[in-house]
């Protein structure tokens, strides 16, 4: 059996999946993706999820992630490369983007491992550097009882384009 590919899951996807009114649709989406991918998150994503949760939820979220997904330490190599990505975003004339540190770290890991990213906000990853390879509609009823439709995106780093961006800025 071929080895499953890595799939870096963005904070916003897990955050939505952990909302009781959205869980069912994310169970279905994750089930579909699990056949081809191994889910992975960075420790920064874990931090973003835990920092806004009370003690009971912190324990459940930590257990859920630790048991079911691989996690990436914030090693000096990853942080160093993330700094270069941040510099690139700031300096490149076609990358006028304001992106959070968590998304910069996710982008750095995705590029370093050449792996796909699952995100609900495709503006967190510049289209010049990340190509959309698939999209999944997610429908649920909001907490206010309104029918809601979101789109979850599967993005992959465009390595050739990224190399060119690095060269343009000597990042």
């Amino acid at each position: 059996m071929p080895r499953k590919k890595l799939l870096l899951v963005d904070t916003n996807v897990i955050s939505h999946a952990l909302s009781p009114n959205q869980t069912e649709c994310y169970v279905n989406l994750f089930k579909k993706l699990e056949t081809d991918f191994r889910f992975i998150v960075t420790e920064f994503t874990k931090y973003e999820l835990l920092r806004s949760s009370d003690k009971e939820h912190r324990v459940s979220i930590e257990k859920y992630i630790t048991q079911n997904m691989a996690t990436v330490d914030l090693s000096s190599i990853l942080i160093g490369f993330s700094a270069r990505i941040y510099y690139l975003y700031k300096k490149h004339p076609k990358l006028e983007v304001r992106i959070s540190d968590g998304d910069v770290i996710n982008a750095a890991f995705s590029i370093a491992k050449n792996c796909a990213i699952l995100t609900i906000d495709n503006t967190d990853f510049p289209r010049l550097m990340f190509a959309e390879t698939d999209r999944f509609p997610v429908s649920y009823t909001s907490k206010k009882g309104k029918a809601t439709n979101d789109t979850v995106y599967l993005l992959t780093p465009d390595m050739l384009q990224i190399k060119t961006c690095f060269e343009d800025c000597e990042a």
């Binding site: 899951v9 952990l18 869980t23 994750f30 699990e34 190599i77």
Partner: protein, 45 residues
């Protein structure tokens, strides 16, 4: 001139060289990890 061109190509490759050490990736602790199954468990305990 040719030599310069070659050097530029090599540098371009070097810019992207980064290896994430395998020991900085922690594998899931479950013997049969399932992000979908785990989600169901959270809300049915």
């Amino acid at each position: 001139m040719v030599a310069l061109k070659e050097k530029k190509t090599l540098n371009k490759e070097a810019l992207m060289e980064i290896v994430i050490p395998i020991n900085t990736i922690q594998q899931p602790t479950s013997t049969s990890p399932s992000p979908s199954g785990g989600l169901i468990k959270i809300f049915t305990k």
